[in-house]
């Protein structure tokens, strides 16, 4: 047992001294999140989704809807039913809902008409932007109608919704990606190098059971993944105002990160088992890891991807880890809610582990 801890300490030191490993494990995920967050996370880059509910009917309401549709900062959908629009708002499908009430424009002489306006307050920046834009459009339109004074005003109401920003979407994805790279690349790279250098053979010449050396490495790798997850999450919360909701979210994240690490460490051992040398291991890791990174909905949602590619997306173990992490971190879901993602991860992990044990060679 003491030998196990000696190996853990040795692995920790080796990781801490390996600048390249530190870069890929810690710096790269944060850098990636930062860059994508800055480039795509700003409001305005993505048009805010606005639902317009036309309860008034008539030409004035139709003209007004048309004006909104021409505003570049807005992506306007006409919805017939206010309740349906509000439900979708709560689900995060819209940033805001604007209602054109019955009797729009009537009695304009007596003052301004209040337009019910509901916005998702889960993201303050987005809420402020969309409110501001809608306010401006409504005022301008009012002046055009009356010529002198505001005809309409917004009756704004915040709605607690699950709506999320791009950065909210991105953070769990980057955590999943880091867990995958820590698993596949670190494990396969390390063990193929050890095999090539004869380290594994030399260790087999000692009375030490091989399991204690391997399990020490795996434990250090799991902790490394957890630290990456914590770092990405901390940067997301502190710098990018990621909305983390629900109690016990950290504990759930740790559980998912450990399960996901198990799956991808197993995949890493499988790569190490079939790759003859470090070049093959690196290439194989890329062949497996790169498509997975782009087809698992890490950086962008896969909902809009072509239908024919969906079966491929569904075959990616990383998708399930990203979905589960997203559900837990952003939507405040419980582990029970994401249980099917977890089941798929465990099934993948068990299969990879079985294949590794079957094909792994010590020399």
């Amino acid at each position: 047992m003491r030998t196990f801890w000696d190996f853990i300490w040795a692995d920790v030191k080796m990781t801490a001294r390996n600048k390249q490993a530190l870069f890929w494990s810690f710096f790269f995920p944060v850098l990636l999140m930062g860059l994508l967050g800055i480039v795509f996370g700003q409001e305005g880059s993505f048009a805010a989704r606005l639902a317009v509910v036309d309860e008034a009917g008539g030409p004035l309401a139709a003209t007004m809807t048309g004006v909104f549709k021409q505003v570049p900062a807005l992506k306007v959908t006409s919805v017939g039913d206010r309740q349906a629009a509000l439900d979708d708002l709560k689900n995060g499908d819209y940033a805001a809902v604007l209602v054109l009430p019955a009797g729009l424009g009537e009695g304009a002489d007596e003052g301004s008409t209040a337009l019910p306006f509901y916005y998702d307050n889960s993201s303050p920046v987005q809420a402020a932007t969309v409110t501001g834009v809608v306010q401006q459009v409504v005022q301008e339109f009012g002046f055009r109608v009356s010529g002198t004074r505001p005809t309409f005003r917004l009756a704004a109401q915040p709605v607690a919704a699950q709506g999320f920003d791009y950065i909210d979407f991105l953070v769990p994805g980057v955590i999943a990606m880091a867990i995958m790279t820590n698993g596949i690349y670190a494990v396969s790279g390390t063990f193929v190098t050890y095999r090539q250098k004869g380290v594994l053979r030399r260790l087999r010449a000692t009375p030490l059971p091989p399991g204690s050396f391997v399990s020490a490495y795996v434990l250090v790798n799991l902790v490394r993944s957890l630290m990456t997850a914590a770092l990405v999450l901390a940067v997301g919360i502190l710098i990018f105002n990621v909305n983390v909701t629900g109690p016990g979210v950290l504990a759930r994240t740790v559980v998912l990160a450990l399960i996901g690490s198990g799956t991808f460490v197993s995949l890493g051992f499988f790569v190490a088992a079939v790759a003859k040398n470090i070049e093959v291991a690196a290439a194989l890791g890329q062949v497996i890891g790169t498509p997975m990174m782009f087809l698992s909905g890490i950086f962008f949602p896969m909902d809009n991807a072509p239908r024919w590619i969906q079966p491929v997306v569904n075959a990616m173990p990383l998708k399930y880890l990203a979905d589960a992490l997203r559900g837990v971190i952003i939507s405040g879901q419980t582990l029970w809610t994401v249980r099917w993602d977890v089941v798929v991860l465990v099934v993948f992990g068990t299969a990879f582990l079985g294949l590794s044990v079957r094909f792994f060679r010590w020399e």
Binding site: R2, T3, M14, R201, R202, L203, R204, A205, T206, P207
Partner: protein, 340 residues
């Protein structure tokens, strides 16, 4: 480490056999290694030296035969013996990003031996690496890296340590430095089993040498006794002012074998009797009015033992370093006269 058996032999191998499909890598090898000696296994690449060693070390399961180390059978459960022996494998096992003294600690830990830092430096001192204790393994030269892997073969104070071609690929100076290290280790009381394809290494370092070829031991004795078996043999090389037919050379009195040799720009004779061969060569030169240049008479060595017992050269597949280190050079075969 206190040995279990009081017997003089620390290793006993009998009928050891290993097959890989059709290929018989080790074909019924038997020998014993006495406590305290340096035992060499000399042979070319592919002779079965490493396979033999790995079966004794408990890394490779023999198909047939028995191995006893320090009174304990290695197979079927090699773990106990693994703990009592020291192992240096051909491929040097090193962790990146670990300092030398840390590597010594981790490997010691594998044997349940946890050394203090002072103790680790003392072990590194034995292989001349004390001043490198805080260096990383990738900063070592080839000879130093081999020194480290020998230190790791001593980390558990073994009764016997196995060194598999420890000096392969080293330059002559580093090789000689490593010989001193190995002698020192042996003087401190550790039995050493070493494989090599350098005849000079076997000759200078080993108390006894097993000459191995094609999976068999073809000769086993002290280097001196092996060479003495060849009688008054010597290798004579020279150039001549006029070409000589090999038939005539090989037919000379006292000559066992002869060939043309580009490296000496002339001929090489393997003499069964050096004195008679030189005399008859000089007589021939006088008869034909030839000048003999660069005459060089060299006593027999293990290379000649190998050549005589197996019919082929030791350093056939080598990169030339072995031959260069041995003070010989690459040669081509000429015609051979069957010894009377």
């Amino acid at each position: 480490m206190v040995s279990v058996s009081g017997s003089a032999d620390v290793i006993g191998v009998r009928g050891l056999t290993k097959r890989y499909g059709e290929l018989v890598a080790v074909a019924g090898v038997s020998f014993t290694v006495a406590r305290g000696e340096v035992f060499g296994i000399l042979g070319p690449n592919g002779a079965g030296k490493t396979t033999t060693l790995e079966m004794i070390e408990g890394l490779r399961k023999p198909d047939d035969g028995t191995i006893v180390v320090d009174g304990l059978p290695v197979w079927p459960r090699p773990k106990v013996v693994k703990g009592r022996i020291g192992v240096q494998l051909q491929a040097t096992a090193l962790f990146d990003y670990q300092k030398l003294h840390e590597i010594v600690y981790v490997f010691g830990s594998c044997y349940g031996v946890r050394r203090s830092k002072r103790d680790r430096i003392a072990l590194l001192e034995r292989v001349g690496l004390a001043d490198k204790a805080d260096a990383y393994a990738d900063q070592l030269s080839g000879g130093q890296a081999q020194g480290l892997s020998i230190a790791l073969a001593l980390v558990n104070d073994p009764v016997v340590t196995f060194l598999d071609e420890p000096t392969t690929g080293l330059d002559p100076r580093a090789r000689r430095a490593l010989w001193d290290v190995i002698r020192e280790i042996n003087r401190d009381g550790t039995t050493v089993v070493i494989t090599t394809h350098y005849m000079e290494e076997a000759e200078r370092l080993c108390d006894r040498v097993a000459v191995m070829d094609l999976g068999r031991i073809v000769a086993l004795d002290t280097p001196r006794a092996l060479i003495n078996q060849l009688g008054a043999t010597a290798t004579i090389s020279f150039g001549t002012s006029e070409p000589l037919p090999l038939e005539t050379l090989c037919g000379l009195d006292g000559v066992h074998d002869c060939r043309e040799e580009d490296d000496v720009d002339g001929y090489v004779i393997v003499a069964a009797d050096a004195q008679r061969a030189v005399l008859s060569l000089m007589a021939l030169a006088g008869e034909r009015d030839l000048r003999v240049r660069n005459l060089d008479v060299r006593g027999a060595n293990l290379e000649d033992v190998f050549l005589t017992t197996t019919g082929h050269r030791l350093s056939v597949d080598d990169d030339g370093a072995a031959a260069a280190a041995a003070g010989t050079s690459r040669r081509r075969f000429g015609r051979r006269k069957v010894a009377p």
